[in-house]
């Protein structure tokens, strides 16, 4: 293992390679909805610099992380090869330090003595509208805020902190992306990222209930908007449309342990795109969750399989919206605990068709302290699990390439390039261990990784962890149902073998086969349509 991944690090330097990846600008109808008040259109050039500098000055005074990380980088380059966008594009402005310098050089020129005195000798450069539009707007939207760089930096410098600040400065002059602002405005309107209205949300839950019933014979409820409940569950809304197996797996777990749970259409989304946009919006989106939890008297809020949702909760919720009158956890922690307590009846062999590896979502691993639970669950529900190269998992996990608000069509090429290290690590275990299932407990991963795997021609299925749990989990009454189904099917098969009657002329035959031949010859009914004439004898 590791050789292919090692090759990924031999990057040829291609300055300017990232110039062409530019996200669409926001529109007034989205910009005006943001909690972080911003101009709805880019400011005229002659106002931009002043407003931006004022905002930067404010931010560095409000955030120790920003101030410190602007000051102490020694440009040693230890972080250079840790960014998947650099490994993919070769553009030095996509190295963590190169990206940070875009902001630092402005900071030095305007806010430090050495920068004012010595200018470019100490790497200082005055801010211009071009720097904002051509450098910041492009390259701060080529960072997925994955924080991988910070693991390797001798001082723990976290480029995501600089990206987040850079984006807030950009907001202040009216430069924001359409994708992120549209998603956030949908949350404010419908309670979820996809903009699913209440009726459709409920209809989908009912549909999934029927689906589970059909498969297991058990009435598993997927409750929405219950007035009181112990547990408030927040799925990534994509789980109700595209990743339905994850949603059904979660519902089955809740059913199996007899939990009193509900989802809410006011806050029907775990994800928090505020992280990619502004502190104000992180707080406003979290607030919806807190309000609902209070209203229904939830004692426990559980976040679904979504990486940055977990970061927004784990690191920001208490600090921004606290004190919280409830406890909160991730569904991975919940299910792992239920397994430990022996509350779930699991049949691992039902997952014998898959050989699983796990992609750690950046925000779960590095920002959420959640690396063991996922593995524990997978090993409890599957017989075949193998980890990727140690340099590509857990706190060193590589981003899928679509995080940080970059999951948008117009920069698809960048997304594929950013997916290169992850894809390569997967490819290694596909080759060495025949892995065919990539477990990725995150909605962004589930949207991005299938495209990446296709792009690099790696034959794996991408799915959630609860998809596997759902398959292995045996509900009460399910086995009886399955036995019944099996008996029925067997009876049908047996009947098909036994004596049969031709419905058109009442002739009797020893087998179905003979009857069909008769029907073809006598009644001109082809064998494929034999059931129009023949049926088993009662």
């Amino acid at each position: 293992m590791g050789e292919e991944l090692d090759k990924v690090y031999n990057v040829e330097l291609k300055p300017g390679a990232g110039e062409n990846y530019v996200c669409h600008l926001t529109k007034p109808e989205f910009a005006e909805k943001m909690a972080n008040k911003m101009p709805t259109e880019p400011l005229p050039d002659d106002q931009m610099v002043e407003v931006a500098l004022k905002r930067l000055d404010q931010l560095r005074k409000e955030r120790k992380s920003l101030q410190l990380y602007l000051d102490i980088c020694v440009r040693c380059g230890a972080c250079v090869k840790q960014c998947h966008y650099f490994l993919g594009t070769g553009d030095p402005k996509n190295t963590p330090v190169g990206r940070a310098e875009l902001l630092r050089k402005v900071y030095r020129a305007h806010f430090t003595i050495s920068g004012k005195l010595f200018g470019s000798l100490v790497g200082a450069q005055k801010l211009t509208p071009e720097v904002l539009k051509n450098e910041w707007y492009k390259y701060f939207y080529q960072c997925s805020e994955c924080r991988r760089c910070s693991v390797f930096c001798p001082y723990g410098i976290d480029q995501a902190e600089i990206t987040m600040a850079g984006r807030e400065v950009l907001n202040s002059v009216g430069l924001a992306t359409k994708y992120i602002t549209q998603v956030i405005s949908q949350v404010y309107k419908h309670g979820n990222n996809l903009g699913i209205p209440e009726a459709a949300f409920k209809a989908n839950c009912e549909f999934l209930e029927e689906e589970i019933k059909e498969l297991t014979g058990v009435d598993v409820k997927i409750p929405v908007n219950k007035e009181k409940a112990e547990i408030l569950y927040l799925p990534p809304s994509a789980d109700l449309f595209t990743n339905t197996d994850t949603m059904m797996g979660v519902a089955k777990v809740f059913h199996a342990v007899g939990a009193d749970w509900t989802m809410s259409t006011y806050a029907s989304e775990a994800a928090n795109f505020g992280l990619f946009f502004s502190y104000d919006d992180i707080k406003a989106i979290n607030l919806r969750v807190v309000e609902v939890a209070k209203k229904i008297g939830a004692k426990l809020v559980i976040f679904g399989e979504c990486g940055h949702a977990w970061r927004a909760a784990r690191q920001y919720m208490e600090a921004m919206n606290g004190p919280l009158p409830f406890k909160f956890m991730n569904i991975l922690e919940y299910t792992a605990e239920m397994i430990r307590q022996g509350k779930l009846k699991l049949d691992k062999s039902r997952n014998d068709d898959v050989i699983v590896t796990m992609h750690d979502p950046c925000n779960m691993a590095r920002a959420g302290d959640l690396v063991e639970e996922g593995r524990f669950i997978i090993k409890s529900v599957c017989n075949n699990f193998v980890d990727m190269d140690p340099n590509a998992i857990k706190e060193k996990t590589f981003c899928c390439g679509g995080g940080g608000g970059l999951l948008t069509e117009e920069i698809m090429e960048l997304r594929m390039k950013g997916g290169l290290p992850r894809a390569t690590a997967v490819k290694e275990v596909v080759k060495s261990h025949n892995v065919n299932y990539l477990a990725a407990p995150c909605a962004i991963d589930k949207a991005q990784l299938p495209l990446v795997m296709e792009h690099y021609e790696i034959p794996v299925q991408v799915g959630g962890i609860h998809d596997l749990v759902g398959k292995a989990l045996i509900l009460e009454g399910q086995e009886e149902f399955e036995a019944e189904q099996a008996a029925k099917a067997e009876a049908e098969a047996a009947a098909a073998e036994g004596p049969s009657v031709c419905g058109l002329c009442d002739a009797e035959f020893a087998t179905m086969e003979e009857c069909c031949e008769h029907a073809e010859k006598e009644h001109k009914i082809s064998k494929a349509q034999c059931d129009m004439a023949c049926e088993p004898k009662k």
Partner: protein, 245 residues
Amino acid sequence: MGVLANFVVNVLPYITFIVFVVGVIYRIAVWWSRPSPIPIAVFPGQRSVGSAIVRVLSDVIFFRSLLQFKGNQILWLGAWLFHISFGLILLRHLRYFLGAEAVPGWVAAVQGIGIAAALVISIPLLYLLLRRIVHADIKWISTPADYFVLLLILSVVLSGLYAKYFARPFVVDVKYVIRSLMALKPVDLSTVTLNTAFLVHFFLVQVLAMYIPFSKVMHFGGIFFSPTRTHHFGGEAHTKQLEEA
């Protein structure tokens, strides 16, 4: 050389001292005072104050983070050798500052290894310089200031070695100069034998000291404030919460 020497020995050191001390305290005070309300620890690693301290110290002493990636191992070696040598050289210089007559025993004890460090330090320094020229990506991210500080330290080292092995000023006289400065007493230059090599070395050291507060070298203080390392955000508390729930 009278006026210039007088300036370097009798005037500049006080300016250097004030710039260095005030500058360093100011920079640290800024970091200290900045609020940091959001716990942004980079997991996994620290789940309590204790483990956060361990993590920071392992970065300070062993440069642990540089060991997280194979490709950074040579950098680790170079950087670590450079810093440890730098530290030992500083310790060795204490003999000029401490003890009116004889130096304390432990200062005497580090003399040998201090000299070894002085002989060795040029190697990692040259490596750190070379990698900024040889590797295209490191070259791209380097600014003139990055070369400047390495060259400055290199010239401090070389002028010091030259003074020690070739120009050979009287150790007693050097100590007398330093002790006088510490006592805020002017040095009468006519009573001591100081040569140009020593004066150059002494001057460059002061330039370095004055440069530090304005530069990236302040990382030595900043590392203790880095929120991704110092925050711990009670992983233990979270786990306990879950057990209750």
